[in-house]
Subunit: 304 residues, 2 copies
């Protein structure tokens, strides 16, 4: 975290997820001066814990001049700080319901951005809508599909500035559970075998039903022969992402696709889509979050 007497933020951007809270000290033009994060995510907090958790994180940035904090993510869920209602698709991600959260400290006003719902098939998002708003801010007129990898990855059809439909996959969470807590944990190392990833991906996309037994094969092969370093982790990832791509085919086939995120899993989704003959746009996830929060901040300021 960078702080100092010279730092005078105009507002504060906050992405408050299940496992972490991340905050940025922002200028009036949408640049960030400092960043702070803590592991006090929604999963660890009761409703009354939120004000102090935020003050602990951004306190060094505060002065006599009151600042507004724009918050996206799980802090707006029913189990969060304050429930910020879902808006149903189709909807503009830059014009969602916002709710003010209770904050006794006069130096901070807190606005929480609501999520997006889809009634049929039932689906929800919280946090991604802000990244989508940021992406559309920076890519005006974009018409196509956004892929947002993560614990729960999303495929989102966007047209005429609106979120039209979307679909959520638990791929990231299932990968973590299998890698860290299943019998496969004895077999995975920290390496990455790109060829093994591509082979597993290709097989899972063309025959997704086989994933159910290919998973245990990773363990069996490691017992009966020597798997190359990184082969187990890459194969597990390839099988799960391949299965997701098979189920999401209607979203990406023949479409202009942008992958939000540039490191880790997002890189693997980029590879996977490229293997299918697409040329996906790749963007930085944090930059989209900040652009989306900045757009919401400006709207909020114009309204007040």
């Amino acid at each position: 975290m960078t702080t100092g007497p010279a730092m005078r933020p105009d507002w504060i951007a906050v992405d408050w997820g299940t496992s972490h809270c991340r905050a940025w000290a922002m200028t009036a033009t949408g640049s960030h001066l400092a960043h702070a994060r803590s592991d006090r995510g929604m999963g660890t907090l009761t409703r009354d814990d939120y004000p102090q958790a935020l003050l602990d994180l951004v306190g060094p940035w505060l002065s006599d001049r009151p600042l507004r904090a724009m918050v996206c993510g799980m802090a707006g869920s029913r189990q969060g700080w304050v429930e910020a209602p879902y808006t149903a698709v189709p909807c503009r991600p830059d014009a969602l319901t916002t709710v003010n959260a209770p904050m006794a400290d006069p130096r901070l006003s807190v606005t929480v951005i609501g999520g997006v719902r889809q009634n049929k098939p039932a689906d929800v998002m919280r946090g991604e809508e802000t990244q989508i708003a940021g992406f559309l801010q920076k890519n005006q007129g974009f018409d196509g599909v956004l892929c947002l990898p993560g614990t729960h990855s999303k495929w989102v059809q966007v047209s005429a500035g609106e979120i039209v439909s979307f679909r959520t996959f638990m791929t990231g969470e299932i990968f973590a559970l299998l890698a860290d807590r299943s019998v496969l944990r004895h077999t995975l190392d920290q390496e990455w075998d790109e060829a093994a990833f591509r082979d597993a991906l290709s097989e899972a996309i063309s025959r997704p039903e086989t994933v159910a037994h290919r998973l245990f094969s990773i363990r069996a092969e490691s017992l009966l022969s020597d798997l190359a370093p990184g082969a187990a982790r890459a194969r597990l990832s390839g099988l799960l992402i391949g299965m997701e791509l098979a189920a999401a085919r209607a979203y990406w086939l023949g479409q202009q696709v942008a992958v939000i995120g540039s490191a880790g899993p997002a890189q693997h989704y980029h590879t996977a889509l490229s293997e299918q003959g697409l040329t996906p746009i790749q963007t930085d996830g944090d930059a989209m979050t900040l652009a989306g929060l900045f757009a919401a901040y400006k709207t909020q300021k114009a309204t007040v």
Copy 2:
């Protein structure tokens, strides 16, 4: 546990898995006089812990007359008590390699039964081979497929008294991880909605690739509408078992199938196969384990 001065077992049957150790005091004719179990499974023990862990469990059954304990399961793995090598398919499950485990107490001799391997596609089993031997002992001449539900379920093709091929699915372990540790845990109650199970099953068998996004739908529907009690748990189970059945189709389609086990998940596999038009045989899992250990005990006795 039933003990008393009148109880004189002739040998001891032991099923030593990853999470539990279960033992039975057995007669010369294969009946059991008493049962004991502990949670000192392979996962909690180092190699040197095994002798005392077994003595703690079966000590009350011992006298001056030395007894033999026949052991199946993970105690025979590389990380277990003593490594009992795998035999490659095709093989008779009643004629597998056995290994004596080190035991200083003269009242017990311990024999561990080895598992079965398949080189291509790579697969392994430990413990199930003994249930299969028991099943074939009680159903001589059986030609068809055995389904063994469990943490790692197995589909096993049996012909002419031999295990011909088999395939392992992590369905039970994935169910437990998703039900207890994923975001779905907020949605599952302890009820069971049989109609929801059958619907999910049918959908997953016919369109297995959709399972990847149907999982999160369970969560989203519970947030956006009221799921009936038991619907979430039953749907999760139906999706995962349906995906397994889709991948195992070559094993059961048009085959005589026997499900080893009668309670819990085994009942759901029985339902699932019946829904597909089969009339599976259903058997008791423990009875098959004891019959298999009894067959191994008699072979061992004849050899010594």
